[in-house]
């Protein structure tokens, strides 16, 4: 046989995933345009909110978490628009479709690399909020909800970005498709973050916390099951 591999299916799958992540990170390391653009955008969104709402001390405390999540949502959407757009220039998505890999590996790879970019942006934006709004953002539970919330948002975003790139007005289509679907996780994450930062005990936010996890799991399943239908021509 010409088939020159003796690897198992699972290791082949994860090698494909790792390769796609490696490729996306190498390109970003070289270009540095995506992460830096997202960061600048995040800072600007924050400033616009600060001035538009003309925050005094008490409103600042009430609204900081909301502003933080809006900033995440906006900058992630911007980043998600780029994930599949990058594959368009030399049609390299087709190169992946031609190779003997499971198509969901493309989804998982693209999702993880986008998630890494989103986390990098969050690592810088969260301390910025600590400085600007002076609220205790460094609680482990709060950081966990930031990670879990953006996991779900990026996950659904990657799935819908693969759809949006196929439409005529793809830049504008992604937020239209994504925001209503992502509403539950945005609401639950904001509720949860607010409760955690105001020192509420577990019983007061366990529902919201569980909902974030349920959302992540359900849409991970949906994405894996449906991606094959979306990516093929």
């Amino acid at each position: 046989m010409y088939n020159n591999n003796q690897y198992t299916k699972t290791s082949q799958y994860w090698r494909a995933v790792r390769t796609i992540i490696w490729k996306d990170l190498s390109i970003e390391m070289r270009k540095k345009t995506l992460v830096s653009a997202l960061l600048i955008f995040s800072v600007m969104v924050t400033l616009v909110f600060t001035f538009a709402l003309d925050l005094d001390k008490s409103t600042k405390d009430n609204i900081a978490v909301g502003v933080l999540w809006v900033t995440f949502v906006f900058s992630s959407t911007l980043g998600l628009n780029q994930t599949f757009a990058n594959e368009k220039s030399q049609n390299s998505l087709e190169g992946m479709l031609l190779s003997p890999i499971d198509y969901t590996a493309i989804f998982v790879g693209k999702f993880i690399s986008t998630y890494i970019f989103v986390i990098i942006v969050e690592i810088i934006v969260v301390p910025m909020f600590y400085i600007l709004y002076g609220i205790p953002l460094f609680s482990p539970l709060f950081l966990l909800i930031v990670l879990l919330g953006s996991f779900g948002y990026t996950l659904v975003g990657t799935l819908l970005a693969s759809i949006a790139t196929r439409t005529r007005a793809r830049e504008i289509m992604l937020p239209i498709l994504l925001l209503p679907v992502a509403m539950p996780i945005i609401i639950a994450s904001v509720q949860c973050s607010n409760a955690i930062l105001s020192g509420a005990h577990w019983g007061q936010f366990s529902n919201a916390f569980n909902l974030v996890i349920v959302y992540d799991i359900i849409f991970l399943g949906v994405a894996i099951m449906t991606f094959d239908y979306l990516i093929q021509e």
Binding site: R15, A16, K23, R30, Q90, N91, G95, L98, P100
Partner: protein, 234 residues
């Protein structure tokens, strides 16, 4: 036995029927050119053979493997050079090949990569970003990418488009050497001269149907050009 076996394949996009009941057999080691005017359905047929599109009806097998049921095994046997290079502008030539080597699970990838780079004469430029490559270099790297996993079947989609004389001659040499090393090659083009010079067999596709099939051995350029224009002008 046939290497590529296309059996009564039809494909429509919406209302438009692009391929009408196509049947085509290509023997192992044969260099076949599919020629036809724009809109004749040749790219669609190539994309179906490349597992990128699914036909509405009919069956395609490659080395006896059905495209629907064993697509992974088929993709391992196929190398595709398309209109686009399928390369990443911001990776070096070596990194691009490494990316594909991993996707194809090639074990001795370091050797394979240096071998194909040598073949397309790009060894010296292997650490240069692809976006700085000329069109001809990108095209050659694209061929290196397609033959990296040592495919038994290579599909070329109009490889001569946009190349200057010099690069075109170089491409012909590479094409010749891929076919003499025992691979089955299917090339699509609308250029009669290249079709006759390179291939063993030629097939003409017109309005989604195979209207002519034959060997190129006894075919002279003028004779065929006359015949071809007669066919497509009907």
């Amino acid at each position: 036995m046939c290497m590529i076996n296309v059996k009564s394949v039809s494909k429509s996009f919406g209302m438009k029927q692009v391929l009408k009941n196509i049947t085509l057999n290509i023997a192992p080691g044969e260099f076949t050119t599919l020629i036809g005017p724009n809109g004749s359905g040749k790219t669609t047929l190539l994309r179906i053979i490349a597992t990128l599109l699914r036909p509405n009806s009919g069956q395609v097998t490659i080395a006896g493997l059905d495209l629907n049921t064993s697509s992974h095994a088929v993709r391992q046997l196929l190398g595709v050079v398309s209109h686009h290079t399928l390369l990443y502008d911001n990776l070096t030539a070596y990194e691009n090949l490494l990316f594909y080597a991993r996707l194809y699970s090639i074990k001795d990838y370091a050797n394979r990569i240096s071998m194909v780079l040598d073949k397309v004469d790009l060894t010296e430029s292997k650490d240069i970003l692809v976006r700085t490559f000329s069109h001809g270099m990108q095209q050659r790297l694209s061929i290196a990418r397609a033959i990296l996993h040592n495919p038994r079947v290579i599909l070329f989609d109009e490889p001569h488009t946009g190349l200057d004389q010099n690069n075109s001659v170089r491409l012909d040499q590479i094409l010749q050497s891929t076919s003499t090393s025992g691979n089955t090659v299917l090339m699509i083009t609308h250029d009669i001269k290249h079709a006759l010079a390179l291939s063993d067999k030629i097939a003409v596709l017109h309005k989604g149907e195979v209207v002519y099939q034959g060997s190129t051995a006894q075919l002279s350029f003028d004779e065929f050009a006359h015949k071809y224009h007669e066919i497509i002008n009907v």
